[in-house]
Amino acid sequence: MSEEKTTLEVIAPTVDEAIANGLGQLGLPREMVDVEVLDAGSRGLFGLGGRQARVRLSIRWAEEGQSKSSPAAPPVESPAPKNEEAPAVTTAPVPAPARTEPAGDEETLRIAVQVVSDLLERMKVRARVTADYVQPEEGGDQPTVMVEIQGNDLSILIGRRSETLNALQYIANLIVGREAGRWVPLMIDVQGYRQRRERQLRQLARRMAEQALHTGRRQVLEPMPANERRVIHLELREHDAVSTESVGEEPNRKVTIVPKK
């Protein structure tokens, strides 16, 4: 008897959600699968840098006869997963249901470009605005709308500690969400600033981690906005010898890098 192992790996914020997502995708009841928890996940600091839970679901073929689903249509043929509300990544060796991109429509991009252009026009800033979808590096999320602003002398749009850029992004996100009728993850960049800044922050994180180890003392970084602190936490998440935490109140919240005992 060929013991066919059909498995599906699911990643989601919690173990329970991962199992529920996986069952939804397979279209199977809980008792038809074996669940193996590969990674229970962790919350991380302040919801940042947490690991997602990972489970592997194995279909129990042996019991298929008893539960009497029609043999011609194996239960693997699942109904289309509801991607809208279950944006779980699946790394499935076998029954990968066709993944339709949620929010992958042109209309949302058009709205995003329009809203950002409208804001800039009223701020008396002349610039070119384009938008596209990017996949977030941290798995699991739906694609993010990336709005690029290009033009001359746009440092006024970034501001101190990227305050202006973050305000623009926040307001644009609210308006786009309302016009699109649902929350849309959206990022705004000016002349590639965020990318450059992220590279700098990663380097800074590694350098300060070195220093923390070298001196044996905690290193306190400059105050940063939340999205920048997140980059530091993520960069050092896998580091064996240091841990990171954020201390202080906004807008003076700082990452500290602490050597592990």
Binding site: V115, L119, M123, K124, I156, T164, L168, Y170, I171, R178
Partner: protein, 79 residues
Amino acid sequence: MKELIEYIALSLVEDPSCVQVRQERSGGNKIRFELRVCKEDMGRVIGKNGRVANAMRVLLRVAAAREGKQAILDVVEPR
């Protein structure tokens, strides 16, 4: 500057009928704006911990700087 506040407010409220932006010069290059919205929409233009209002102030600062001015924004309770 006024158009910026109006645009953002109108885009965020449920009821556009009471959105009103009043502008008063408070001497020199300072300008004060008063934004009024319906009572039910106050939360939408202020936000948790004033986050929306503060973001509007940051953007308003850019618009004002373009004209060599300083601007203040107050969100006012409807009468």
